[in-house]
């Protein structure tokens, strides 16, 4: 019995409930927001250390033994994801102290934040496929409400697309679970993986695998299912955008990693080849979409899509090094992407607009912000020695070793185009002089931006740290990939040695 496995799920639920009970007390909610996410980070680090030390940890909920009860399982990938979720949760909570207006706080921003984190962590830790569906829904409902907080027209329009496509995805996921249950008679993922090895009808398994690919592809924003993402991610409060950008698509990516390493490995030549094409197309369409945009957050939204392509590429190549690259990429991406959104929020705070054409002169007026933007931006493009360089380097090296030349070419090209997009933002927002007619646009003003600066600086420092301390991060990612590639470790940990 390992209590630390359940803590990352229980803590946000607890703090969410407390936060709900203190509905009228704004200050208390803010304190609990920071306190709760801080505690969550501590619990997540504890979980990661314990998983690193003792291998895959399992907790049987209610002491019902697997495969009959629901289990929470923490392997290294899950534990890493939980830590990253806690980091972005804490960053968002701190940033929200000044970024979220009183009106939005009164609509219940903080309770929703906690519930979202509970859903995300639940999805990362559960070892039961139907339970994963339930956590997905917990996360979705919280994200729906966060997305429309404030109720402006753009939010409504974005939310309709977001809600529709995510519900379609959930229905496909549920159908896939149904077929899988019909085939194996179990819901425990380790048990499914164990039983599928004996199933003769691999054709049906591949069909189910494709249903899961479509369902998680929608959630991850993979090609050709990503259209909800750029239509909705730039509409909510920027702190919400940052949290969504960091976590929601990554839950889809995590689910893809989980099912396509543990369950659907019967016909790797077919399924992972499709994944590879999806990865290439996702990278390209995302980055080209970003090149056409001139709105700060829309550019960033499109870049989420292209980055998702890299992660799926790591999964699709399915070699040890490629999986290391995929895991490393997720770690790098969550920090960097959240930080870029936080920067865009600070720019808006100071200048009152997100339109690149109307911005300018920020480097002259706010040089520190310029530097703080450059760190994550160049990291996203993959400039050494920042974190993105090592993430891309491992993936491309893996592609070369697998002799998948075209995906290597696409990955390099997309890296170059990413640099173009980031330089575009740099040139338009920071470097050029601001157009005269927009110079006096009313802005919320610099009051309280110290907290925002602090959050951005800490996140940027983490990016630099991942870059310079790539070796220990690589070791963790390598161990996580090792556990992914050998599903028997996971199965034995959950079911015990039954042989």
């Amino acid at each position: 019995m390992r209590p630390e496995v359940a803590l990352p799920v229980v803590l946000p639920l607890l703090f969410g409930a407390i936060s709900l009970a203190l509905w009228r007390y704004r200050t208390a909610q803010r304190v609990i927001g920071v306190l709760g996410t801080g505690t969550l980070l501590a619990a997540a680090v504890w979980l990661l250390l314990a998983t690193w030390r003792d291998g895959v940890l399992v907790m049987h909920m209610g002491n019902w033994q697997a495969p009959f009860g629901i289990v929470l399982v923490s392997d290294l990938l899950g534990a890493i994801m939980v830590v990253l979720a806690a980091i972005s949760g804490l960053a968002t909570a701190v940033y929200s102290l000044t970024a979220i207006s009183k009106r939005h706080e009164h609509y219940g921003y903080y309770p929703l934040l906690h519930l979202l984190l509970a859903g995300v962590n639940g999805a990362f830790l559960t070892g039961d496929i139907f339970n994963m569906y339930v956590w997905f829904e917990v996360m979705l409902v919280a994200s729906f409400a966060l997305l429309i907080l404030g109720g402006e027209r753009a939010q409504m329009e974005g939310a309709i697309k977001y809600v529709t496509l995510n519900l379609v995805s959930s229905a496909i996921f549920l159908s896939g679970i149904g077929l899988l249950y019909g085939l194996t008679g179990t819901l425990n993922m380790a048990d499914i993986a164990d039983k599928l090895a004996d199933v003769e009808d691999t054709g049906l398994i591949t069909v189910i695998a494709m249903m899961f690919l479509v369902s998680f592809g929608i959630k991850a924003g993979a090609f050709p299912f990503f259209f909800w993402l750029p239509a909705s991610y730039h509409t909510p409060q920027v702190a919400v955008s940052a949290l969504f950008a960091a976590l929601l698509t990554k839950v889809g990516v995590y689910a893809l990693f989980r099912v396509f390493t543990l369950i659907f490995t019967q016909d790797v030549g077919y399924t992972h080849e499709i994944l590879l094409w999806v990865a290439g197309a996702t990278m390209l369409t995302g980055v080209l979409g970003a090149a056409a945009q001139y709105e700060f957050r829309r550019i960033l939204s499109f870049h989420i899509i292209s980055q998702i392509g890299y992660m799926i590429m790591g999964l699709a190549l399915f070699t040890p090094l490629a999986l290391v690259g995929g895991v490393f990429y997720i770690m790098h991406h969550i920090i960097v992407k959240a930080n870029l959104f936080l920067v865009s929020g600070l720019v808006y705070r100071l200048k009152g607009t997100y339109e690149l054409k109307e911005l300018g002169g920020m480097y002259r007026s706010h040089p520190i912000l310029g530097l703080l933007f450059l760190v994550p931006a160049l990291s996203l493009a993959g400039i050494p020695p920042l974190s993105g360089f090592f993430a891309k380097f491992i993936l491309i090296r893996a592609g070369v070793e697998a002799e998948s030349w075209w995906i290597v070419f696409v990955a390099l090209l997309v890296g170059l185009l990413t640099l173009y997009s980031m330089i575009k933002i740099w040139a338009e927002v920071f470097w050029k002089a601001q157009p005269e007619e927009h110079a006096n646009r009313p802005a919320p003003g610099p009051k309280g931006t110290g907290v925002m600066y602090g959050t951005i600086a800490v996140m940027a420092a983490m990016t630099v740290f991942i870059g310079f301390g790539a070796q220990p991060i690589y070791l963790i990612a390598e161990q996580a990939a090792h556990q992914l590639l050998d599903p028997q470790i996971y199965i034995d940990a959950v079911l015990g040695d039954r042989s």
Partner: protein, 115 residues
């Protein structure tokens, strides 16, 4: 019975997709409702359909006698129905609010945030 259910599920999915492709947001939500019901029925059918065989353990025995229906699938569907109900209730409120803000029932007039 399973064959019939297969056609019902297929029909529900087809109708759902047709409704979701319409421009009206009300029809969109109707499509979503049909889709979630189709998925639930698929889950139900997959577990095997048995009539009049409740999974009850007789007094004094440790396991049920003979062939019984699978209770787990029904628990899953119950969960899925409850979740679906909650989410769809949200969707109904959302389209109502969207209708008030946009003043139209037409998806073609909700393209401001697209690219």
């Amino acid at each position: 019975m399973e064959t019939l259910m297969a056609f019902v599920v297929g029909g529900l999915f087809a109708a759902a997709i047709y409704m979701m492709l319409r421009r009206s947001i009300v029809k969109l939500v109707i499509g979503l409702i049909l889709l979630s019901n189709g998925a639930n029925l698929l889950l139900f059918t997959q577990a095997g359909m048995l009539r009049g065989a409740p999974p009850l353990v007789p007094l004094g025995a440790t396991q049920p006698e003979g062939v019984v229906a699978d209770p787990l699938a029904q628990a899953l569907i119950l969960t899925a129905i409850v979740i679906g109900f909650g989410v769809l209730a949200f969707a109904v409120v959302l389209i109502h609010r969207a209708y008030e803000v946009v003043e139209a029932d037409d998806m073609d007039q909700m393209k401001d945030t697209d690219t």
